[in-house]
């Protein structure tokens, strides 16, 4: 539950980073399993890859690329926060991470459709 004391930019950046990380952790085992089919059962892999022609799968990939990009950019911000001299623009950097992720994932989606 988003309680009143949490309604600020960096808390939203925190929860987005956490949820995107958990989502990617859930996705990656399935991703590696399907990739492994290239070695073990190539005909089944071709069947899976046909799904990527469906619009709903393209939209899901759009979401996946957004989660990956926002987790990378958010993680870079956190590493900079902890390892580099302090920067006062943390809210701006968090917003830029979301903006950059949105840009990259939208470009991916535009190319896909």
């Amino acid at each position: 539950m988003i309680r009143p004391h949490r309604t600020h930019t960096l808390w939203f950046a925190y929860i987005l980073h956490r949820l995107s990380g958990l989502s990617l952790a859930l996705f990656l085992p399935a991703h590696f399993y399907i990739m492994s089919l290239a070695l073990t059962q190539p005909e089944r892999l071709d069947g899976f890859l046909k799904w990527t022609d469906l619009m709903i799968v393209k939209v899901a990939e759009y979401g996946l690329v957004f989660l990956l990009a926002v987790h990378i950019f958010g993680g870079l911000r956190l590493m900079a926060l902890e390892w580099l001299p302090w920067s006062n623009g943390q809210k701006t950097l968090a917003a830029a991470a979301v903006g950059g992720a949105f840009l990259i994932s939208t470009m991916f989606f535009m190319r896909a459709i």
């Binding site: 309680r3 009143p4 004391h5 949490r6 600020h8 930019t9 960096l10 808390w11 925190y14 956190l78 926060l81 902890e82 390892w83 302090w86 943390q90």
Partner: protein, 244 residues
């Protein structure tokens, strides 16, 4: 223009650590009154058994912090008009601390963690030594000066979700105090500070949610101080490693 209602409906948490509930009071809606004013009005006019804590009333002592509509605030300098919602205000004891009674919390865990974080002075000289000159513009002094306005109100401690989820976590105020001491050239306990803040409940538990900095009534930035401690402890760790 909307007419200002004559009264406010104020929900005040009543009870102790074992349990309690909100009790509603109708309070006159005076102009320019603070949250502490309406708590005092209730205690003086509606229910003398209401327990709360305050001292200076001018934002210096850090005694009167409470949860106001779910947000930790210094009540003596929080105007009702700034926080009132639909003519209602909800007032509760500070989060993350044991409740003694009603709105008064037990601050012992908060101050115990200041000591656990070595947030105390470790002298370099005795009273017989000449007073050391400090350059107020040196980088370390500027860093130390940014934290010394902390009034120990525990607002940051109540705002912190990491404190809520990890009872061992030292919390933003204690760690900011440790960072201030660490940067004080008159302090002889720099390594003691780093050892104290790099343990189980130390600075590396911080998730950089930033609620401490958002809600600090004195506009301090404990998240920045904790980031400084993370860098200092990591640097110290790698230096130690390179010597062994």
């Amino acid at each position: 223009m909307k007419a200002t209602p004559d009264t406010l409906t104020v929900s005040v948490w009543r009870g102790a650590e074992s349990g309690g509930s909100f009790e509603s009071f109708e309070v006159p809606n005076f102009e320019s009154q603070t949250i502490l004013d309406i708590v005092a009005w209730i205690q003086q006019n509606s229910d003398p058994t209401l327990t709360y804590r305050y001292a200076c009333r001018v934002g210096m002592c850090g005694s009167c912090a409470m949860m106001v509509n779910g947000v930790p605030r210094w009540t003596c300098r929080t105007h009702v008009q700034k926080v009132v919602q639909d003519n209602r205000v909800e007032i509760a004891p500070l989060r993350n601390l044991p409740v003694i009674k009603d709105l008064a919390t037990d601050m012992d865990p908060f101050f115990d963690k200041w000591i656990a974080a070595e947030g105390l002075h470790h002298p370099t000289k005795s009273r017989h030594d000449p007073i050391e000159q400090i350059n107020p513009e040196s980088a370390a002094r500027v860093e130390a000066a940014s934290g010394i306005e902390c009034i120990n109100c525990s607002v940051c401690y109540a705002a912190c979700d990491t404190v809520a989820n990890n009872p061992d976590y030292l919390g933003p105020a204690a760690l900011q105090r440790a960072w201030t001491v660490y940067n004080d050239s008159k302090d002889a306990g720099r390594q003691q500070v780093l050892d104290a803040v790099s343990g189980v409940g130390g600075c590396h538990n911080c998730h950089s949610q930033g609620s401490c900095a958002v809600h600090c009534p004195n506009d301090l930035n404990p998240m920045k101080a904790i980031a400084g401690l993370k860098r200092a402890t990591a640097t110290s760790f790698f230096r130690k490693g390179s010597r062994t």
